[in-house]
Symmetry: none
Subunit: 264 residues, 2 copies
DNA sequence: TACCGATGTC
DNA sequence: GACATCGGTA
């Protein structure tokens, strides 16, 4: 028996909107610790890791560890039917092949339940090691989103270079080149407007903008984003979910090709 | 000679936006009583009835009963050219085959007149008997609209069931099932937020969501909607137009098929 | 199905 | 003026 009551239901709505385009089907894993998901994107290039800790739920009952395979598109459709102020409860009976989403309006005048079929999904639960990163950039999520969107109108890939002074995003395309530099800046009114760079070693890595743009759909979950970079490691783009956990996106860097090869 | 001056022109704009997708061509009937319309939708499944009483107009002159056939799409196009604060005057000379819409901006700085050709339309003016209904639900129009929209992302039809406690909207589709219950609730701040159920007999009827979703385009005309249900009778979905009349939509229930037949 | 543009609201 | 939502297009 599983029953998870999430007062701020809009969080779950936003999580699904942010990952459903990247991953079609995935297993949600539920344990005493929390509600989590880990899945490769459909082209097996990026990885999504979601964690909603049990403490973040108003009521959390999970009798035994359970893995529920869901089609994220269908799940998102159902969650769209919840109001942004609704309380969402996720329910599943032991051994059942369905999950129920219950939506309670703030006034309790309207109570909805949506039942969805579960599916069997081969899960490839990769343990993701906690790594040391050469550089960690924290910046406003809206700004990062804007940069990725802007650069993708010029080129397909972005080079992210971190030095002590700042982080540089560069691209190159048929119509020209673009460089955007964000300087470290902690003298701001609100802490979430800061751009903070922790750096042990300068790094410069190349990524496909297509994926970064998909990641930034999670911007509504948090005002800030954390980008953790190391040479030879996948970048981690993390959006914290207030009081509850995070959504993290992992993306392997492109191996820099010779200039000559990129322009055949 | 016909001359109807409507100070709150936005009402007419909204009326046309709400019915133009359902009905292509229709006769507007003008008499001393008011300005009205009654028409089947293009697939002859639903019926629209509009009444704007003469008292609601600032000036109302209608020398003799007249029926004016209009293409509602074209009429809506013209009305879109009126500002929301404009005063709209509808004019027609006796025996003319055109109608003129005049728009006066609130400041009188701008005066526009649009002339539209009338058309001959076979009208099938069905007398609609005032019936007794088993159950009448009054609820916020926005809420009803949201429910119809949400459910149509899951299924094609909705079962509306009324009991003393509340009204239940249910659907079923490929990805799962959904039930939304609205409880009777009269303890609200504003009367238009109430959900009120008058019930003589429990009813449970099935309707095509496609039509209900079309009806709810009239939600901007009124904060509340009234849904009148009886077994074997078309449902009536009514939006009152402040001080003037109403738009009513009629839709026949679907005859419930056996479970076996719906799942071939 | 995903992206982009336009519209309406706060 | 900015954000969010909705509708249309690719």
């Amino acid at each position: 028996m599983l029953e998870l009551r999430l007062v701020q239901g809009s969080l779950l709505k936003k999580v699904l909107e942010s990952i459903k385009d990247l991953v079609n089907d995935a297993n949600f894993d539920c344990s005493a610790t929390g509600f989590s998901l880990q899945a490769m994107d459909s082209s097996h290039v990026a990885l999504v890791a979601l964690l909603l800790r049990s403490e973040g739920f108003e009521h959390y009952r999970c009798d035994r560890n359970i893995s529920m395979g869901m089609n994220l598109g269908n799940m998102a459709k159902m969650l769209k039917c919840a109001g942004n102020d609704d309380i969402i409860t996720i329910k599943a009976d032991d051994g059942s092949d369905t999950v129920t989403f219950m939506f309670e309006s703030p006034t309790q005048d309207k109570i909805a339940d949506f039942e969805m079929k579960l599916m069997d999904i081969d899960s490839e639960h990769l343990g993701i090691p906690e790594a040391e990163y050469h550089a960690i950039v924290r910046m406003p999520s809206a700004e990062f989103g804007r940069i990725c969107k802007d650069l993708s109108s010029i080129g397909d890939t972005v080079v992210i270079s971190v030095t002590k002074e700042g982080v540089k995003f560069s691209t190159r395309g048929d119509i020209g080149t673009a460089n955007i530099v964000c300087r470290q800046n902690t003298t701001v009114d609100k802490p979430e407007e800061a751009t903070v760079i922790e750096m042990n070693e300068a790094v410069s890595l190349t990524f496909a903008l297509r994926y970064l743009n998909s990641f930034t759909k999670a911007s509504s979950l948090s005002n800030t984003v954390t980008i953790s970079l190391s040479s030879e490691l996948p970048v981690v783009v993390e959006y914290k979910i207030a009081e509850m956990g995070y959504v993290r996106f992992y993306l392997a860097p492109k191996i820099e090709e010779d200039e000559e090869e990129t322009k055949p």
